[in-house]
Subunit: 413 residues, 2 copies
């Protein structure tokens, strides 16, 4: 019997999450047992609210072009379902909506929280005897999912960070004689240093930056940091620092939790880069500049990694294939089979191996002094940023029809 599919995006978006959406929708069309693909408006909230976007109304071109579109095209959300006992009504509502719209396939595109949610929905659907194939599709710029070799979304951010570091370093190098001598780039990564760490690849290009990489995995020591900056400037003329937003001091306090107050006596918004720049100003009196890439890094589809985009597409495709094969409670993950030449394949993994687990940078990736990364790390990162993006003539994105499916149930509250 033909069943519809429900697809939702979850949490922070990436520059390639829509490639997974594109793959799910295109692949689903190949199987007669799958009817329509409904996308949740604003993620899982779309299911709770019965706000389902009928993707069959979009043109083929629109769906294909999603591969090159940053953001989450159907909307995403930060909405975590708690345990089944605590949030029973929400789970029951989801099943109710799925039943009302003849949904037999659930694809949840997110990180480890979403893997957990997909697992729980899979469990409750079994309890309620409602047949539902639950497949989580990996996505996170943080690259912190367990088991998978890497996460779709990460390679593109890494490429952005490497490229930006090389380019800014060439700029600083030019001016350091009479002007800026230190440049600090703040990148994402609240708990794991994958993004900051990937900047190590920039060292292979002239002029060999970054000189200092600050990771959440390494306790920030102000004195050692300043000494390293000073030494680097002395020896090299300038110093480029890539800092993870999540670095903490010895007391475990985020550096970005500034103690500073503004004119109104309110605490200022953080920002690790301005904090480090302030330190360098005050303690070393060295002219510096800083940048905070924030959303620019995770939305930079103009600079996506070809490998990353391909992987995002493949995990979406495999998710549909797994569902058709009758799998449930699994995630398609990336398995690396070779470094040089880089080879990978998509395999399935049980969600209970992935849900709620956070993978940090392994110790073997971090250099002895804690300010750099090892050759082993380089070998890991390099293939993930490879592959060019197709050149886009116009950076014009369409809105899409976003036609909603008629509601059948009472409003959700």
């Amino acid at each position: 019997m033909k069943k519809n599919a429900f697809y939702a995006q979850s949490g922070g978006v990436t520059s390639v999450i829509n490639a997974s959406a594109s793959a799910v929708i295109l692949e689903a069309k190949k199987y007669p047992q799958i009817g329509k693909v409904f996308a949740g408006k604003n993620g899982i909230l779309g299911a709770l609210r019965e706000e389902l976007i009928d993707t069959s109304k979009e043109s083929k071109k629109f769906i294909e072009d999603l591969q090159f579109r940053p953001g989450g095209v159907f909307g995403s959300c930060r909405y975590k379902l708690k345990g089944i006992d605590e949030s029973l009504n929400e789970y029951l509502r989801l099943i109710e909506v799925f039943k009302a719209h003849n949904i037999g396939y659930f694809f949840y595109n997110g990180g480890n929280d979403s893997a957990d949610t997909a697992l729980k929905i899979s469990q409750i659907s079994k309890k309620l005897n409602y047949p539902l194939q639950c497949i989580a599709i990996p996505k996170t710029v943080d690259n912190d999912l367990a088991v998978t070799d890497c996460c779709p979304g990460f390679g593109s951010v890494a490429k952005y960070v490497v490229t930006s570091t090389i380019e800014a370093a060439l700029d600083v190098e030019s001016m350091c004689e009479t002007s800026t001598k230190v440049f600090v780039l703040e990148v994402m990564g609240r708990h794991a240093g994958w993004i900051a760490g990937s900047s190590v690849l920039a060292q292979d290009s002239h002029p060999g930056a970054p000189h200092i990489i600050l990771l959440p995995e390494v306790t920030f020591n102000q004195q050692r940091f300043l000494a390293k900056v000073k030494k680097t400037v002395k020896e090299n003329g300038f110093c480029v620092v890539v800092a993870s937003e999540g670095i903490k001091d010895a007391k475990g306090k985020f550096l970005a939790e500034s103690n500073s107050k503004d004119a109104f006596g309110h605490s200022q918004l953080g920002g690790v880069a301005p904090r480090l720049a302030g330190l360098i100003n005050q303690k070393l009196k060295i002219k510096n500049h800083w940048a905070v890439a924030d959303y620019l890094q995770r939305s930079a589809s103009h600079l996506s990694s070809g490998v990353d985009r391909k992987q995002a597409f493949e995990v979406g495709k495999k998710a549909v294939q797994y569902a058709v094969e009758g799998m449930n409670g699994v995630m398609p993950i990336i398995k690396r089979t070779s470094n040089t030449p880089y080879r990978w394949q998509v395999v399935s993994e049980r969600l209970n191996k992935i849900a709620n687990v956070e993978k940090k940078l392994p110790a073997s990736f971090i250099s002895k002094d804690g300010f750099g990364l090892t050759n082993k790390a380089k070998a890991y990162f390099q293939p993930l940023i490879e592959g060019e993006v197709q050149s886009r003539k116009k950076m014009i994105y369409e809105s899409g029809k976003m036609q909603m499916v008629a509601k059948k149930l009472r409003p959700w509250s």
Copy 2:
């Protein structure tokens, strides 16, 4: 008689200044009357210190590849020569170095300060009866040079800002239901709003951001700004702000000159974006994110505008042709002859029309409410960001030989 040429880069670099360098060096080879092209190590300081890089030692490929290399490959500096009376010794030293190395052509690649310096050197060389062709080559991301329609370096930054604004807006739009509703992007432009203003082009793509553009030409009014943010979020779900670093309040004080103190009681480094974000937090309590692009925007050669790069190359080429034709005290500038299709040509202009003049956004470019730009502005900006960059397989830059010419004079102090 064969004379050598001296080329120097001045002030903040751009992602295409090396395209001008490449053009000067390649074009100079075509004329038997020009000997070698010496580049100043770290700009004009290289002439004062007699630190001359012999560009003839570099491979042809290295010189050609400069077109795609960010930063200032021979080094630049912030070093302003004052009036001839005040800085006579410096001017005399320059002429002494030029004489010692048989330099008859002086190419100075910079903004309006550099145009002034080139003009003064031209004047003093005449006074001293030392034959020297002085040509200034335009370069500035700020786009604030008089007379020329646009400045090489600007179009690429504009393209970066437009692209980043579109991408980040798609990101924010996806998440605004349950997460970030306001995104603030800080861009360069201390006195003129060309860079921030160019972001208006992003409005032609989905989802129509930026909603607010803050220009140095318009006094910042906190109340009106916050009201506009609030209204935009209410009507639209989210709001994207592009802010120039140079916005000032009614007292003429830069917003980035923060009153805030850090834990040590020191003034914190500024940053307009975190300041605006702090305001939005405190006064509107709306979740927001902010980015400061800083050097990333002006070094982003991976995203250079094809038009910009071509113009940077052409002004370099023309500078050599002007010199060979015997011109002196001029700058090759861009003249726009048509908007659609975009047509331009390079013409010469006297340096006294350009030196020390700063061109701001014309009033006709700024919308009535001061938060946007007009269609006239769009028509101006659009062609400058056109043209794709060639896809680079590897982001690897070489160091170059950077062989110094043997010194002949006493050290300069």
